[in-house]
């Protein structure tokens, strides 16, 4: 089995349109949540979201190219470009033929789909735009990345709700580790702010009317977010041979299914994914120093995740530094696992752990160290990123400082 490292990361989110702004915001504990654009038109019980502000696709794409892909796929390409640029990887003919692309997305091209439905159902039009299908498909991000760099190796998309991109990164990790390919571009992207999707989330009654306050006693729900994170994974040897400077190593991936309930999470299911991930990494629970939690800010998730960490880490749970960065960049659904892995990697490489902001009051049922409000200097060797999806599908990634 080969060692696998991250040599480049790209992020676009409510915290800014590149990795640097993302890292700065995380380290300052800045909140990217605000009123959703045009929210007054939507007749919703909540107003706030974590949108990518002032995103002009024509800054990034030729007009015709921008027209060909939905906002979520545009985010995927923007993040992939930044990851590739940082990695310094050169797409030789051989590398293009063998490299993998594995992306995650939960809802695909919602803006495009919504427009088509609006035209038919509301405006009574008899035809929709011919690009509606290819712009809506969840794999449009992977396809756009493939076109962008001319990569012709294995490419696919995983859709497991809020675990999508964690499952995607895990899959890419396995492919590089096994020797199937030397490099992979992987991560996830999402742009879920359509009228229809917002109404659907409203109906579930899990969105906060205010802010996202993970693990805080006064938490009252999640905040939807959008964006993308992509990363270049390479075999350690490949990266070193070309003189690259790895940012971190990916050492473990654990999955599980709750087999419990479609929306209620199970602590045992989540704990199992953590255990499997640590086993895959070949490390003891005591070696983990930082947890980037799923931490949605709903009453149930945060208690269940706390219980899961107790189950998986035992006595060491009390010594873990845990934060949910969703309070800053929102819950980006299929992009969450990738954006939060980026946060974990940047925490390991910088020695500054991002805080759980908007934390105002301890909850006796959430009794761990959530790095409340202020970032913390610390140099753990290992960090994990948790993703727990509706449908009970869990994915946990283990990252190691280099």
């Amino acid at each position: 089995m080969r060692r696998v490292v991250v040599t480049g990361i790209g992020v676009i989110s409510a915290l800014g349109k590149n990795r640097e702004s993302f890292q700065t915001a995380l380290q300052e504990g800045r909140c990217g949540i605000g009123p959703i654009q045009d929210v007054d038109k939507f007749d919703l019980r909540f107003r706030n979201g974590a949108e990518v502000k002032c995103f002009d696709p024509f800054t990034y794409f030729e007009p015709k190219a921008a027209d060909m892909i939905d906002r979520f796929a545009q985010f995927a390409v923007v993040a992939a470009r930044e990851a590739v640029s940082q990695s310094g990887i050169e797409w030789t003919e051989e590398l293009r033929e063998t490299s993998a692309i594995v992306t995650g997305s939960c809802v695909g091209g919602q803006a495009t789909e919504n427009q088509g439905f609006w035209d038919v159902y509301k405006l009574g039009k008899t035809r929709v735009h011919p690009m509606t299908i290819p712009k809506t498909m969840a794999n449009a991000g992977a396809s756009a990345i493939s076109l962008e760099f001319g990569i012709t190796g294995p490419a696919f998309t995983i859709s497991t709700a809020c675990s999508s991109s964690a499952h995607a990164i895990g899959q890419a990790f396995w492919m590089v580790r096994s020797g199937m390919c030397d490099a992979a571009l992987t991560g996830g992207s999402e742009a879920p702010f359509s009228h229809g999707i917002l109404k659907a989330w409203e109906a579930m009654r899990v969105i906060s009317p205010g802010l996202c306050r993970p693990f805080s006693k006064d938490r009252n729900g999640m905040i939807l977010g959008e964006g993308a994170a992509m990363m270049v994974l390479e075999s350690f040897d490949h990266a070193i041979a070309r003189g690259a400077a790895p940012m971190a190593e990916i050492v473990g991936f654990g999955m599980s299914s709750d087999a419990h309930h479609v929306t209620q999470p199970s602590a045992e299911g989540a704990a199992k994914a953590v255990r499997v991930a640590l086993q895959c990494a070949g490390i003891a629970p005591e070696q983990v120093g930082y947890v980037n939690a799923h931490g949605t800010g709903t009453t149930v998730n945060d208690i269940t995740e706390t219980t899961a960490l107790h189950l998986a880490f035992g006595d060491h749970a009390k010594r873990l530094a845990i934060s949910s960065t969703k309070a800053m960049h929102g819950h980006t659904l299929g992009a969450a696992g990738a954006i939060e892995s980026a946060a974990a990697i940047l925490a390991l490489s910088s020695g500054i752990l991002p805080p759980t902001i908007n934390f105002s009051e301890c909850d006796p049922e959430c009794d761990l160290d959530y790095i409340p409000n202020c970032p913390r200097k610390s140099d753990p060797e290992f960090a994990i990123s948790n993703s727990f999806a509706f449908g009970g599908l869990n994915a946990v990634l283990v990252w190691r400082r280099i």
Partner: protein, 100 residues
């Protein structure tokens, strides 16, 4: 639309809706049942509220939904909301709660 606040009739309609959404026989749902006894979890509760909102043309705030634990809670809550709705006959139909 039912604006009739006859307690017995209202209760009957709510029991019927709970039974229908939960795919139970009407006789299985009584005013004295807790949700726990009926095997109704929080997502089921949200589904029932959705059906009741449509049936009675009311809007149930998120916070209220979290506090409903029994059939009686549900009946009381719906009755209060219907009364409130009838009080403001000239108001627009969707009084959304204030944000943040």
């Amino acid at each position: 639309m039912a604006d009739d606040l006859n307690q017995e009739e209202l209760t009957g309609r709510i029991l019927r809706i709970i039974a229908e959404t939960q795919r139970k026989e009407p006789a299985q749902v009584t005013i004295d049942n807790s949700f726990e006894e009926l095997g109704i979890d929080s997502m089921d509760g949200v589904n029932i509220v959705f059906a009741l909102e449509n049936e009675f043309d009311i809007n149930v705030p998120d916070e209220e939904v979290k506090n409903i634990r029994s059939v009686r809670d549900m009946v009381e809550g719906v009755r209060t909301l219907i009364q409130q709705r009838n009080l403001k006959t000239d108001a627009p139909s969707d009084p959304a709660p204030a944000a943040s």
